[in-house]
């Protein structure tokens, strides 16, 4: 045992943690995703007490803790609340960089929906601009948030 501990180089073990996951969308999430897939419609859920329409929908209102069940269809058009353009690639991105991300407040909703932006020059992006949802074609829609391909500038 000749090596002095302080002179010893530590071994490093490269590996991974790899456990597949499957997430239940639940009743509310499923209904939202099915509407995307089957009808290209974006739906929200309304709190009758607070008079807010939530997109994405959820089953509890964070302000009054009421149970939510009143579905409303919101427009597939809305206003860009903020944006960012990713130039840095990462393993979690669904498409190639650059990716423009945005938060869109759809007409009829009181919250914004985070998604990607497309068919737009990043230089042209502006908070407040009008955008609309572009859906994937029917056979590519699988009841996923990615059934919306991205939002693109209106007009």
């Amino acid at each position: 045992m000749a090596d002095k501990l302080e002179e010893l180089e530590s071994l490093v073990f490269a590996g991974k943690v790899d456990i597949p996951n499957t997430y239940s969308a639940g009743l509310v999430g499923s209904r939202f995703l099915i509407e995307l897939r089957d009808n290209k419609k974006i739906t929200g859920i309304k709190c009758p007490t607070c008079n807010r329409v939530y997109v994405p929908p959820r089953s509890t209102c964070k302000y009054c803790f009421g149970k939510l069940s009143e579905w409303v269809e919101v427009s597939n058009k809305g206003t860009l609340l903020t944006y960012a353009v990713a130039y840095q690639p990462s393993p979690v991105q669904p498409v190639e960089v650059p990716i423009a991300y945005g938060i869109v407040q759809l007409d009829g909703a009181d919250t914004g929906l985070a998604h990607m932006l497309g068919e737009v020059d990043p230089e042209q992006l502006k908070v407040g601009m009008k955008v609309k949802a572009v859906f994937k074609v029917k056979k590519e829609r699988v009841a996923s948030i990615l059934d919306i391909k991205y939002f693109k500038p209106l007009g």
């Binding site: 501990l5 302080e6 991974k16 943690v17 790899d18 597949p20 239940s24 969308a25 639940g26 999430g29």
Partner: protein, 159 residues
Amino acid sequence: MAQEPSQEYIHVAYTMSRPYRWSAGKYLSKLYKEMRDSKKLVTNRCPKCKELLWPPQMVCGRCKVRAGDDWVELSDKGTVAGYTYLVYPLWDPHAGKRVGEDHPYATILLDDGMYMVSRLEEQDKEKLKVGMRVQAVWREEGRGRGLDEDILYFRTIEQ
């Protein structure tokens, strides 16, 4: 939108393997290198309670003092303290797949008094006994990849 809630439930399947680079630190590395280069188990001794630590480490958990650099070679013989064998292959998060195991595996009380989990060479379940004497069978070319790699399994030896 007055229809009844859908009964179809959506699941989002998501697999994202997370890569890591785990360091063994100097103390474990010393053990692994001795295993690789000399087919020897070694560990360090606490300067206060004089007990052998296992695995080798920087601090004695019992005495809460730095354990230092007092190394001892260990016997690779021991006694089976408990054993079990896998019936269904289980998901191995480090392999990212289901992995079966041909060999039973056991907690072995090494002759120097520490516990070690390893495979047993003996595959005949009738011959497995708590209390049986075993000795490490070393991989011919050491890999320095830890206990599980450089010790193939423990072989039954005479009392």
